[in-house]
Amino acid sequence: MEILYENLLQMDWRYLVMWVIGGVLIYLAIKKDMEPTLLLPIGFGTILVNLPNSGAIDQLLASGETEHGALTTLFNAGIANELFPLILFIGIGAMIDFGPLLSNPKLMIFGAAAQFGIFFTLCLASIFFDINDAASIAIIGAADGPTAIVVANKLNSQYLAPIMVAAYSYMALVPIIQPPVIKLLTTKKERMIRMEYHGKEVSKLTKILFPIVITIIAGLVAPASVALVGFLMFGNLIRECGVLNSLSETAQKVLANLITIFLGITIASQMSAEKFLNLDTLLILGLGLFAFIFDTAGGVLFAKFLNLFLKKKINPMIGAAGISAFPMSGRIVHKMGLAEDPQNFLLMHSIGVNVSGQIASVIAGGLILSFFM
């Protein structure tokens, strides 16, 4: 009989707290439709690893031997060596259409401006954490899960789990976090600024050469980021070359879905109560939110600054789309524009800026690695 309840006796209040956290993530995924592909596996995995003596993760036996768990094995095979996020980048690259950006490349400058939050948070986080952890926490502001994983891993951050959870959660919270920041920094008149869109035809040759050129430039400037940029651009090259349509489709759907399933539940292997329930985690979540807000503010304020010199004004809201959360951020800006003026169509501009945010956040990650590795 004892065998039925001996494990139950090892229950700890911290496990219960983690079950609640797992439950909240599952609730947000199903009820609120917030990044369900990631939050649901993370939520379920959180419950899975927070059972006393869970066989899903490595357990140290009384004999001193380690009993291997499937999730820890998956973590070592796919996240500790950055394989999962990089492969996921092939799928993301295959999903992205750089057309709106290539037809108006000047928009890319907003992608650069919106990385301000990352670097400012780096300074702020360094008050509380050592520089490698601070840099890993700051990259949460990129709203780019794979980049956050790669940077935190390469910098050997001990806070990988809360960084991953914050990065993916804030991506899901774009519709909640960005609008109030944008509204706070812009006037109604500014939000109503209309921007004409002259859809210029982009040649196939440009679309093919673009991913190759970006890889070379990023590789020369920030060699540590070349795997990130390279896998993203490889996925895009598969999409644009025109002769690998079935591979492109596989990368966009099957490959991305497969990796996402494993990525979410594997991230959860790091969500054990001992690692997660401490003051540092709360601080990391707070700093991540700060980075995200300041990235948004950086883009908006830079657009307002440019407007001081431009005859044809830019709607400063498009600056906020310079983060990596694609396409949510671009769509939010478009919707906010429509809410102020039903004839104000900002979608092509905001999506262009959003795509540039994807590139700029990867470059920011690469620069951070170059500085601190």
């Binding site: 290539l102 490349p105 670097f119 780096l122 008050i127 040649s203 040759l205 620069l367 500085f371």
Partner: protein
């Protein structure tokens, strides 16, 4: 937890250099796109002319 306020000031350097680097890289990418556009435009024009001459 030790609070190290001096680190904030010391790391402002990385903020400055990081933002500068990002703007420079993005500016280079923008220039490259303009160059790519010119080159591909010229190639497309040449191909169109060749086709036109072939038809004549």
């Amino acid at each position: 937890m030790n609070l190290n306020f001096a680190a904030f000031v010391a790391n402002l350097y990385y903020m400055g250099i990081g933002m500068l680097c990002i703007f420079v890289v993005i500016a280079v990418i923008i220039l490259s796109v303009f160059v790519l556009d010119k080159i591909s435009g010229a190639i497309a024009k040449k191909a169109a002319e060749k086709e036109e001459n072939g038809q004549n």
